[in-house]
């Protein structure tokens, strides 16, 4: 619904599903999971968008290897950056707006809120099956601003990412409370970095312990979407901005991500 009378209209009318990727804890792999889910969904033939609202540390442009493109405006808003000729994966990142990638964005909450409102509202996504929203860690200004603005249209729910150790699941428990308080449906929990298979002897080490995500899901009555192993190949693929799903289709990590994306898709369609 376009409210032409207000300067900011939300062009999400052709976006079928909106999914937030959240985690109370930093560095657990929100951006990595967002990127990989987007790639997996694209490989499954879906049109996918990623909205990256991490003002202080936008990672997605690097993870998708799009460099530092100039963004352009059309009649219906800012045109996202497409990673492929078929335009099946669109990205809009706050990182695109920064003149100097090393510059620190030192903003207090109210300014971040104003910026995100403007940012979320003015992207011309066009037709999308799923829009994934990558967020910074925590439960603060950015999260509230994104919700306030997206809820005017729709938010299907949130995927919560955690690593297995209690220090991390503790933060995710707080994130669950956040979702309840703000009325966001929890689509499921993903445990990332669970178990590391030594490439030399294939001994499995639980570097950040194991099972915390699944346990948390049980404890809170949430869906457990699956676990993604700690995989250096995924890490370096993300570093180089390569499509992991294309490079390692036979890996256990790929099948984990793929099955998570399928489960997610099913839960969106019900």
């Amino acid at each position: 619904v376009c409210a032409a009378s207000t300067p900011h209209f939300i062009d999400l009318t052709q976006v079928r599903h909106v999914v937030l990727v959240l985690s109370g804890k930093g560095g657990v792999g929100k951006s990595t999971i967002t990127t990989e889910l987007a790639l997996a969904l694209r490989h499954a033939g879906k049109r996918v968008g990623i909205l990256d609202v991490d003002l202080c540390g936008p990672s997605i442009p690097r993870m998708l290897s799009v460099g530092r493109p100039d963004v352009h405006q059309c009649d219906s808003g800012w045109v996202p950056v497409y990673t492929d000729a078929q335009k099946s994966l669109a990205l809009m990142s706050i990182g695109f707006l920064l003149e100097d990638p090393d510059e620190a964005v030192v903003w207090r909450g109210p300014k971040k809120t104003a910026m995100i409102s403007q940012f979320v509202s003015d992207v011309a996504w066009g037709e999308l099956d799923v829009l994934l929203v990558d967020t910074p860690p925590g439960t603060s200004d950015e999260h509230l601003a994104v919700l306030e603005n997206l809820k005017k249209h729709r938010v299907d729910g949130a995927v919560l990412v955690t690593t297995p150790q209690a220090v991390s699941t503790g933060d995710v428990r707080r994130e669950i409370t956040f979702c309840k308080k703000t009325g966001v449906r929890i689509l499921g929990i993903i445990e990332n970095m669970s178990g590391f298979a030594c490439p030399h002897c294939s001994e499995c080490s639980n570097i950040f312990s194991k099972g915390g995500g699944e346990e948390l899901a049980k404890l809170t009555g949430s869906v457990f979407l699956g676990s993604v192993p700690l995989d250096p190949l995924l890490g370096s693929s993300i570093e180089q901005g390569k499509d992991f799903i294309e490079s390692f289709p036979d890996s256990a990590t790929f099948s984990a991500i793929n099955s998570i994306s399928q489960t997610l898709l099913e839960s969106l369609q019900t």
């Binding site: 109370g24 804890k25 930093g26 560095g27 657990v28 951006s31 003002l55 202080c56 540390g57 990672s59 690097r62 993870m63 963004v71 405006q73 707006l97 920064l98 990638p101 090393d102 620190a104 964005v105 030192v106 207090r108 909450g109 109210p110 300014k111 104003a114 910026m115 940012f119 910074p136 860690p137 925590g138 439960t139 603060s140 200004d141 509230l144 690593t163 150790q165 209690a166 220090v167 503790g170 428990r173 707080r174 669950i176 409370t177 956040f178 703000t182 590391f196 030594c198 490439p199 030399h200 002897c201 001994e203 080490s205 639980n206 570097i207 312990s209 700690l230 250096p232 890490g235 570093e239």
Partner: protein, 328 residues
Amino acid sequence: SKFIPHLYCPGTTSEQAGKSSSCQGCPNQKMCASGATKAPDPAIAEIGVKLSTVAHKILVLSGKGGVGKSTFSAHLAHALASDSTKEVALLDVDICGPSIPRIMGLEGEQVSCGLYVDDNLAVMSIGFLLSSPDDAVIWRGPKKNGMIKQFLRDVDWGELDYLIVDTPPGTSDEHLSIVQYLSSTHVDGAVIITTPQEVSLQDVRKEIRFCQKVKLPIIGVVENMSGFVCPKCKNTSQIFPPTSGGAERMCADLNLPLLGKIPLDPRIARSCDEGRSFLNVVPDSPAAKVYQSIVQSERLQRIHTQHTHTQTCPVPICPPLSSYCEFR
């Protein structure tokens, strides 16, 4: 084609505040233009008096999440407090994701005045003010700033040799607040934590820029989760590969001291979950030895003896603390 006009702020205390073209659309413009932002918050002076009995203040920072700031802060506090003649306090200003209570073995405790882990080691965190560990602190910036002000001004810190401040990731309210509120006292500097991969370093470089902007000295950089030694075959794997040369290269480029590289050790995560000091649990491990060597490093030792009264400047970045009321 960069479309956000007020990306660059002239600074709330500058002549141009609220008047420059880049202020158009900034939520703080009116207040900046009114001149109200030029007056300092009286709490800054009060905190200066309050913390005059604290000899050394060290901030632990990182632009990136999950790199081990809290783990490092906790173990730095433990290591410093292992000298029973020193009084140490650990302050957690991660308002939305406080992990210090658990790491220090204090989860579920409820107090409003700080807690002692040991005779000479005190801890304060918002976690102690919550009624359950599931409580979410859904606060916007201004409220978080108010909390940090209270921590600094209203907690009875007493005579301390060290105050270690653990921060959340990023360069936002919590960071601006802690630097501003400490601006009338002496801060020794910041220890910056990173992991080896570029995804992390790209954010950490921003944090370093932030320190430079606010004139916060950098004590040094610690690379955490640097290589994993397989407990079975003893081969090292780079789980977070230093594709751009890791912290070593970044430190060389930016002319910063690298204090040490701490390997990934599953026992660290376990100790933190159990709220025990890894340095006591496995004192002979390679990771514990690196921790000790960092604490003993010349850069950190110099802090004990030196007292350079370089004050951090009250940060002229927008919007200021005085926007507390307007945006609440």
